[in-house]
């Protein structure tokens, strides 16, 4: 055999093997990084270019095809490389429209989770201090077994307690401002019904000591939660009750039982309908405006929820709150700002009020509890509302008549 020819063949064999190796390398790179690191895939194309080009040099018969192919792969690699060089972003589909329309198909645990979300804002938030959800319950109620409710009864042990309450004499023969939820509704006959009744008609029975100040427990400070501004649907209240059972390790009644209980105390025309759900993507959910800022002052203070805890001189109906100090701010603020416990930085009465709304714990008035005032008024009230609140409060002086709120 011709030695030279042999050598040439051998050389070409090596080149072929080299190209083959490169191709294997390229394919491996493709396979490995297909999903993980797809930015590396054009590298495969680059290797292909080299391999085909090499083959084109040493295999004369397929030279044109190989060089043409190498060029084409190069062009494709250049485009793909450019695209991979740009920053990458994945477009996630929007989350499923949450349809809580049919709670009867949910498992008990799912239902309880929904309940927890409604009370505290998120699943697992029940242990987080200060968390509050759509139902706004933690504003007044406490839920821990060892906590003491200031404004409203502790909700721990409610399922058990309810069973006992309905059998009490005080319950059976109550004397409140509104003794039945609506004409013909009757009163609760089981613990389950009691829970429903107290949600729908807080005035029907007031736990001793938690009535509105001065009413001798004949009237409850709690709003009916199926009405504005909280607007929970029956299904949502069912979810909340389910959570109350489940978290104490009790077996929750069925959804149907609970629905029937609520329907007993809420007349048909008062039952809030579930909102039509998310209409499109990118929605931040339905929101609740505390107050528009255009209301008359008494209404504004009520909607902003100040009157629940504070006595505000000059504002009718704002004379019962005793969880927070009476708001003679013009008199008190200068003293408080000089107090050694004061940690804020306000230098005027207006600034002090604003500061107290945005960050209530900068100064705790003696004899009042820490952490009682929600910290989210700053994000929940709009500028006009805050402006008018500050404006009015800053004129309240002890011993003087409050300004005429109708003009402010």
């Amino acid at each position: 055999m011709d030695f030279l020819k042999d050598k040439k063949l051998l050389f070409r064999l090596w080149i072929g093997l080299l190209a083959l190796g490169l191709v294997v390398l390229a394919i491996t790179n493709y396979r490995v990084n297909f999903y993980g690191n797809s930015r590396l895939l054009p590298v495969s194309l680059g290797i292909f270019v080299t391999a085909t080009f090499l083959l084109g040099i040493y295999f004369q018969k397929v030279r044109v095809v190989m060089h043409g192919a190498a060029f084409m792969i190069f062009v494709a690699a250049a485009f793909a490389g450019f695209s991979n060089w740009l920053p990458q972003t994945i477009g996630e589909p929007p989350p499923f429209e949450e349809k809580i329309a049919d709670i009867s198909t949910m498992s008990t645990q799912e239902l309880a989770d929904l309940g927890e979300k409604l009370i505290f804002g998120a699943v697992g938030a029940s242990t987080v201090k200060g968390s509050i959800g759509k139902g706004q319950c933690p504003l007044c109620h406490v839920f821990g077994s060892s906590e003491h409710g200031e404004r409203a009864p502790n909700m721990y042990g409610l399922p058990d307690r309810s069973e006992k309450i309905v059998k009490l004499d005080e319950y059976q023969n109550r004397d409140t401002v509104q003794t039945v939820a609506f004409d013909g509704s009757g009163i609760a006959e089981s613990g389950l019904e009691y829970m429903a009744e107290s949600h729908a008609c807080p005035n029907c029975y007031v736990s001793p000591g938690f009535g509105k100040g001065g009413t001798n427990d004949r009237e409850s400070p709690m709003p009916a939660i199926h009405k504005s501004p909280i607007n929970l649907t029956i299904d949502e209240m069912v979810a909340i009750d389910t959570w109350s059972y489940i978290r104490e390790g009790l077996e929750a009644p069925s959804v149907d039982e609970m629905r029937v209980a609520y329907e007993k105390f809420i007349p048909e025309d008062e039952r809030p309908q579930a909102s039509s759900g998310a209409d499109g993507e990118g929605e931040g959910g339905e929101s609740q405006l505390y107050a528009t800022g255009d209301e008359p002052l008494p209404k504004l203070f009520e909607k902003a929820q100040c009157t629940v805890c504070h006595v505000i001189p000059g504002i009718p109906d704002a004379d019962e709150g005793d969880f927070g100090p009476e708001l003679y701010v013009k008199t008190n603020a200068p003293k408080r700002m000089k107090d050694k416990n004061y940690t804020g930085s306000a230098s005027s009465v207006e600034a002090y009020i604003l500061e107290s709304i945005l960050d209530p714990n900068l100064y705790i008035v003696p004899d009042f509890d820490e952490d009682l005032m929600p910290e989210d008024f700053g994000t929940g009230l709009n500028a006009k509302t805050v402006f008018r609140i500050v404006n009015y409060l800053s004129q309240l002086e002890k011993g003087k008549d409050p300004p005429n709120h109708e003009e402010m």
Binding site: L86, P87, Q88, T89, G91, E92, P93, P94, P95, S275, S276, D279, G280, E281, G282, E283, G284, E286, S287, Q288, L289, T292, D294, T379, G380, L381, N382, A383, K384, F387
Partner: protein, 306 residues
């Protein structure tokens, strides 16, 4: 060197590039024809390439991001290739020194080749090293500037289809919606108590803006408010023709009402600190503040059907 003239910058840039090329061509021609010095094609090409690099790197102020300069430089290289290889004669001339170096025909080219053989791998490895070196810089973030809006938004229980909704406060004297009302009243005094309903809406929108928005978006609506630099990116500049002027009023309504949290998933991670204003403002107030923003910047809202 004088800076760029405000208002003429894009045109000025093109003119400057043109000037550089004219000087370059004329210079080469004069050298060739008058003085008999012919600049080798390869050198000419290199000069153009370097001139382009210099121009975009040092002349443009503020500095351009690397990505843009890279695109430009690749385009310039392609242009140079097209130019030198457009005719066979120039191409041969261009290739000659390169081939000479590759073939090492003279001692000089041999040396050039030897040096290149050392320098090229070294610089390649240097670049690789530099690239692999862990960097402390923040990662690049791809932000969608105009996120796609949903087909409709629900604000305070009312559904607004973005395609068809109209601002209820953009009204003419008769109380009807009017596209052109702004043009006629752009110079009006909003504090005039006798002004038409439209101007009163503008004024109320202004009140709302200065109560709520100006801390970030600035009292000139230029996105340079008191707190603007606490955010990255800084708040939108409404005087920029790329923001309000390019958007439909309903799009702005969606962004104001739903804020950063209402951005679609594709905008993740959210790079918007804007609160969902529907929690603070009524629907009408949102429309009014938008009305004010357009009035103040003098841009008409974008419309599709005209």
């Amino acid at each position: 060197m004088p800076g760029f003239i405000e208002g003429m910058m894009p045109v000025q840039l093109l003119a400057e590039i043109l000037l550089i090329i004219v000087i370059f061509v004329l210079g080469a021609m004069i050298l060739d024809k008058k003085m008999g010095i012919r600049i080798p094609m390869l050198l000419q090409a290199a000069l153009v390439f370097i001139a382009g690099w210099w121009y975009y790197k040092f002349r443009i102020e503020p500095p351009l991001p690397f990505s843009v300069r890279a695109i430009y430089q690749v385009m310039i290289a392609i242009g140079i290739f097209m130019w030198v290889s457009s005719a066979e004669k120039g191409w041969t001339e261009f290739k000659r020194p390169i081939l000479a170096v590759l073939d090492a025909k003279t001692p000089l080219t041999w040396w050039v080749r030897a040096v290149l053989l050392v320098v090229l791998p070294l610089s390649a490895s240097g670049m690789a090293y530099k690239n692999l070196l862990p960097s402390l810089g923040e990662p690049i973030e791809l932000r969608t500037v105009h996120p796609a809006p949903p087909a409709a938004v629900t604000v305070h229980g009312k559904k607004f289809p973005l395609q068809t909704s109209e601002s209820p406060v953009r009204v003419d004297e008769s109380g009807e919606y009017s596209n052109h009302i702004q043009d006629a009243h752009v110079m009006d005094n909003p504090f005039d108590p006798d002004s038409i309903q439209y101007m009163q809406n503008v004024k109320e929108g202004g009140d709302i803006f200065f109560q709520n928005c100006h801390f970030c978006h600035g009292d000139n609506l230029n996105g340079r408010g008191l707190y603007a630099y606490a955010f990255n990116p800084i708040p939108a500049n409404f005087t920029d023709p790329g923001t309000l002027a390019q958007l439909q009023e309903t799009f702005v309504f969606w962004r104001v009402a739903k804020g950063g949290p209402g951005l679609p998933r594709e905008g993740f991670p959210w790079a918007s600190a804007m609160p969902p204003w529907e929690q603070h403002l009524t629907t009408e107030e949102i429309w009014k503040v938008i009305l004010f923003e357009y009035w103040h910047t003098k841009y008409p809202p974008r419309t599709w059907d005209e």
